[in-house]
């Protein structure tokens, strides 16, 4: 399933309407963020420990 088909199937199921031309812009946005997102998706997490109870108001 390509990106357009995936978006067209998933978004309405989430209650998010898709209008004419939306997929073109969505594809553009996805491409703009793709390098950074792809890097996040590819990062090796084995040495990145979680922070249970993460509290952004204070240092870990």
């Amino acid at each position: 399933m390509d990106f357009d088909d995936f978006a067209a199937a998933v978004l309405p199921a989430l209650g998010a309407p898709i209008g004419e031309g939306d997929l073109d812009l969505l594809r553009f946005v996805a491409a703009a963020f793709a390098p950074a997102i792809d890097a996040l998706d590819a990062v090796d997490l084995r040495d990145l420990d979680p922070e249970p109870g993460l509290d952004p108001s204070r240092a870990p």
Partner: protein, 447 residues
Amino acid sequence: MSHPQDLGLRAQARAVADGSLDAGELLDATLERLAERDGELNSTPVVFAEEARAMLAAAPDGPLRGVPLTLKDMFTTPWRGAHSGTSRELLPPGASGVFERLREAGAVIAGVAQQHELGMGTTGRASVWGPARNPHDLERCAGGSSGGSGSAVAAHLIAGSIGSDSGGSSRIPAAYCGVVGLKTTWGSVPRAGYTGGVSTFSAAGAFGRDAADTRLLAEVLTARELPAGDGAGLRCGVVREPFWDDLDPEVEARCREAVEAAGWEVVELELDRVELAGAAAASRLAPELLAGLDLSILPELDPATRALTQFALLTPAVRMVRADRVRAHLRREIARAFERADVLAWPTSPAPPPRVDAPVVELPSGTALADPPNLRQATLANLTGVPGISVPVGEAGGLPAGLQLLAPWGEEARLLDAAEHLDATLGSDPNVASPPAPGAQSSTHPG
């Protein structure tokens, strides 16, 4: 005689307190200036004349007694709900925590500051009211999402404004408009009645024409004293990659010159995997903000915001978990960095403000949409929770440029010390004539 809005926030508060400026006359002059000058700027699309007069009549004798401010559309007041720059009331009317802090200080809310819809943009161009424009060039963006705050303070329509910051939304408009913008430590300001209150990234922000004015506003927001100290002898951490890379050459030069002029000890630092901060923040932040949103609003949004929203809705759960792991790692990394540096510094935005009709920036790597590189520069503070500030450091291509500083959690005072030192070094003065503004009457300018 100069117009009272050509006085900075401290000067207004002092003048009202010592009786040399009547608070009623200050409010009337502010409302007149908004009516005369805000047309094309579009910084303050909703003005509260009656409500402001009622607040003034009941204002207690606090540090901001009788001083008008504007408030971003993400915060509720007792008479207006929060709309976040959309046509929908997303939170009902009521006294938000921020409103209560301002009211207790004696401040007067004069209007709603324009914002990028849903807080999902760094340009300020998409809003139910239309774009906020930059007073330095009306064809340029004021920044976002708190664009109306930056624009109004820079244009001397108001001396202080309350914004918020989920991914640079106070720091970026401040940089674009040439004013000071502070992001507070996450959780240091009450979150009730704030549409960003559902997010672990979003924090209230304060705008002033200089760092000392911003300190006064921050003390009110955080309800604690932020005593001024020496900002000269600090250790300034510089993280070259990625924050000093791929920048507009003039922005890079102004920021580098500012750090040099400050005379700080420069400490070269590396933060492991910090290049993932932008993606980690975007992958976590947008779903947090959108989780409670009625998605039937989508057809009403600007096409770009709608596309960003749809993109966020497609975020897989496993990516959010990845983002959380990166976030935890970067929190440890930045805590480690603050063992060697008092503040961290890099350009707030990598390029001057883009055009309203073409929100792209020119970088050495090529033409880019403004949002991704802005988020790259801004989101580490939101991801980790630390406070950040943007300080004007001169012009790039005839438009303002800002240097961003970060400090450890709860260290707003240190951040403001550093910013005040920069102001003093670079010669900032909040009590000067306003920049030329559309509809300006020459008689309202001093001198």
